[in-house]
């Protein structure tokens, strides 16, 4: 449970997030919508002049208190992995581990295993690929045993290929960790694949927030490609149940059928959908 009320000169942000104990809450919006600022304020990396922030009953910011970043029980994944260049991969992973009271080496091993970086531990960050670097960055954030994981567009700096290399790890993270995750993104694709809850932001305001089914219609998808992928992903998640998929997508049943027909004969993603529909 987290409550935010933030005021800057220019805009106000009001948000009551009833976050489940686990699962991904995506914060979606175009650049300049204030989503990264929101995340930085939650972490304490920035200070909203008028702010109120409470996490699971604990005050992180109000009129009197401002809990500094290093005392907040969170993990943060930046857009660029930002690994410490003077430390090895293991040194990076241990940096937070040795400073966090909650952390245990068991958690580190789990993070290493989850992100598949066991063979990279002795390397220096400049010997890693972009995708490997970001996986280490995510494991480093997990190693401090955070009670809340904040991720700021962790895939945005990567190309398509690397993105698809990491997405499966994020899905695994989502499935196996007992941890609420706030995931900032501007990619509908990532929302559909990872999110349980969605906060849609525009110009520093919250346009909509709730379960994926309730909020997906607020995401407009400019590209048919993205749209097709969204439809196929949603179909996958509802095991091919078309009427439920239509509800999730916020379109009526006949529109969905029309779109599926339109996607036919284009090959590629279509095969997946055919299999889903049986």
């Amino acid at each position: 449970m987290a409550q935010f009320h933030m005021e800057w000169p220019g805009f106000t942000l009001d948000l009551d997030l009833n976050m489940p104990a686990r699962g991904v809450t995506a914060i979606f919006g175009h650049s300049g919508s204030g989503k990264t600022t929101l995340l930085r304020c939650i972490a304490g990396l920035e200070r909203a002049p008028q702010g109120f922030l409470r996490f699971k009953g604990e005050a992180w910011q109000d009129e009197r208190t401002f809990l500094p970043v290093h005392k907040r029980p969170l993990g943060y994944v930046f857009q660029e992995a930002s690994l410490f260049p003077h430390l090895s991969v293991l040194g990076n992973l241990r940096y937070g581990l040795s400073r966090s009271k909650a952390a245990s080496s068991g958690r580190l091993d789990q993070a290493v295993e989850l992100l598949g970086i066991g063979h990279l531990l002795e390397r220096k960050p400049d010997r890693l690929s972009g995708g490997e670097r970001q996986r280490v960055g995510i494991a480093r954030a997990l190693a401090v045993s955070p009670r809340l994981l904040l991720m700021d567009e962790p895939l945005a700096a990567l190309d398509m290929k690397r993105k698809h290399e990491i997405l499966p790890y994020l899905e695994r993270l989502h499935r196996t960790m007992d941890l609420p995750i706030l995931y900032v993104t501007h990619s509908p694709d990532e929302v559909v694949r990872l999110a349980d809850h969605l906060v849609v932001m525009e110009d520093g305001r919250v346009l909509a927030h709730g379960t994926l089914a309730e909020t997906l219609p607020y995401i407009d998808l400019p590209l048919t490609m993205a749209e097709e992928r969204q439809i196929s992903e949603v179909l996958k998640r509802v095991a091919g149940n078309k009427s439920q998929a239509a509800k999730w997508l916020g379109i009526d049943y006949t529109t969905l059928l029309r779109r599926l027909k339109g996607m036919e004969g284009k090959g590629g993603g279509l095969e997946v959908i055919r299999q889903q529909l049986g």
Binding site: A43, G44, L45, P68, V69, H70, K71, L74, G75, Y76, F78, E80, S82, F84, P85, H86, Y95, G96, R99, S100, D126, R140, A141, V144
Partner: protein, 225 residues
């Protein structure tokens, strides 16, 4: 023997002076450079200008003001009298104090550049990994600014070795106390001892070249992160 005893004595004195000044400035210049690199205070401009003053001020001007400050009527002179220590002018420690001011920008500016080039991101990462600001300074900022520390120390040391005007104003020309290498050369020339002056000058020239060579040869490696 190429160099006389008094030549060797002045070289030894110079090395001692430059080492002590470099150590003092490492401890005092680092927080100043850190503050200048990170602060958004409106005092940043004025303080930065004061630190840079010795770069443009004639050493005799700086030496003159320092002499007044250390003299019996100056604030430093007053302090030394209250504390019961001997007045600083014409002593080794007076020379140290003057050199600290004179070499300050050579320590602060390379360090400030090094700290600025680290940026905010790594310190933010450290904070999200539970490191307090002081902890992050020692475990992230210092190691990442390593090449800056090398540059700053070498420049400070060699600049102190090369000073002349401030030494004459503060320390005078007392053998074993304040007669540093540059003053020794001046004395040799004054006394028409060109042979001795040549040898001392050659030692200084070779030293300076070696220092700069070490510094520039190190650059490309230091750049690689």
């Amino acid at each position: 023997m190429l160099l006389t005893d008094s030549d060797l004595q002045s070289i030894w004195l110079t090395i001692r002076l430059a080492t002590i000044v470099t150590l003092i400035l490492l401890m005092t210049g680092t927080p100043i450079a850190w503050w200048l690199a990170r602060s958004r205070s409106r005092w940043k401009g004025p303080i930065g200008a004061v630190v840079a003053l010795p770069l443009v001020l004639p050493p005799s001007v700086l030496g003159f003001y320092l002499l007044l400050a250390m003299g019996p009527r100056g604030p430093v002179g007053h302090l030394t009298r209250v504390l019961g220590i001997e007045p600083l002018p014409f002593t080794f420690w007076g020379l140290v104090l003057a050199s600290v001011f004179y070499s300050l920008p050579f320590m602060v500016q390379p360090l400030q550049n090094a700290f600025e080039s680290i940026g905010d991101r790594f310190l933010e990462v450290a904070a999200t990994l539970r490191a307090s600001p002081l902890d992050a300074f020692f475990t992230v900022a210092l190691p990442l600014a390593r090449s800056g520390f090398l540059t700053a120390s070498v420049l400070t040391f060699s600049h102190t070795v090369g000073e002349f005007g401030v030494v004459l104003m503060i320390g005078g020309n007392i053998p074993g106390v304040s007669r540093v290498a540059s003053v020794q050369i001046y004395d040799h020339v004054e006394a028409m001892e060109y042979g001795e002056a040549h040898r001392m000058a050659a030692v200084m020239l070779i030293f300076s070249f070696m220092v700069l060579l070490a510094l520039y040869a190190n650059r490309p490696n230091a750049r690689k992160v």
